[in-house]
Symmetry: C2
Subunit: 230 residues, 2 copies
Amino acid sequence: MNRSQRGLAGAGEWPALQALLPDFEGKTMVDLGCGYGWHCRYASDHGARQVIGVDLSAKMLTQARSLTHANNISYRQGDLATVTFPGQRFDLVFSSLALHYLPSFDQVLSQIEQYLQPGGQFIFSVEHPLFTASGQQDWIYRADGVIDHFPVDRYFDEGPREVTFLGTTMTKYHRTLTTYLETLLAHGFQIEHVVEPQPPQALLDQPGMRDEFRRPMMLLISARLPVTCC
Amino acid sequence: MNRSQRGLAGAGEWPALQALLPDFEGKTMVDLGCGYGWHCRYASDHGARQVIGVDLSAKMLTQARSLTHANNISYRQGDLATVTFPGQRFDLVFSSLALHYLPSFDQVLSQIEQYLQPGGQFIFSVEHPLFTASGQQDWIYRADGVIDHFPVDRYFDEGPREVTFLGTTMTKYHRTLTTYLETLLAHGFQIEHVVEPQPPQALLDQPGMRDEFRRPMMLLISARLPVTCC
């Protein structure tokens, strides 16, 4: 996959996600679903004081460790929905394209509240609810093979979708936009940004990239836990 | 149209919208695109002190006036994007299914900022960006006439869509979810609720209503202008 091989530069949504990230100088961060650790290294390279990457996959973490030389980054194998950091609170909880693998958004937020610093940010990307709704995750094509449109179905039917990609079947969880935003608000988060990224100019020559103007594929959200006041 | 004839009870999204409305007791409200005045009368019936309904259509306003007997409701013909209320600020600016007829959301927000009380709410419904994107606003049917799915296309191509409904062609403006939310945030609004209403139980026996679980058709947003502090 392009994003695994090329890292951040291979991810179409990276410029839009990067624009949401804070000044990392002196900050601490947890990366939920860190994969090969690209975002952990980015945070460390930009001044983060401490970074912990969490992933369920031992294989991913082995690769992440082999790519990482900064000693302020550590990796931990764990379930994103239940991982805890007793006695620690972080300035930023980050997650890239991982939370749609969890059955409950409410559950992971309940955990994040325990280890996110009041005043801290929770910034994440997920596959867009429009993209995950039908479970098909592919265009509808005309008889001549040209893309006609993207199908939406079962939008309010939240739950698992068995998705096959490059011969592998994975279970993703479809949630509505309402669920993402209202659950954040119910947990007391302030919404700071909600962005559906468009393909960056630099990648427009890649196959199929221009079609990404026709549907939103990803959803980026930045939210802040208020400092309890006065 | 069901919603014009039956009023609020005929609008599938009404229970979800109603749940976002504040206690009206003693409050002042502007209704942008008031149509027949159903929401103006609801606010007045629930204790609002003063209600002003604005609509571009003189015909709609004639009907609204004939249906209205409360003397704390007044109607004004005007362009929703540019209407002003010099020297007045309101507790609530409300708009039901009207703002997708305006070319610029940024422009109407600039105006609303002038007449919304700091600490006041802006609550509105629009057609969902997923629903307005392709311009088709109809399902894709199978050969046997059964609904197959809903089509999305041209999502990031914001602008006018010529839509024909019951033989009349109207121009609506497609905007992305990003534009609705980021424009509110850029104007300093706090997002309080973002709801994609599902069909209410009471209307499930109406033709086609069960299919409304398959796609989001409307978007309800509640936002608040912060009280400038200290």
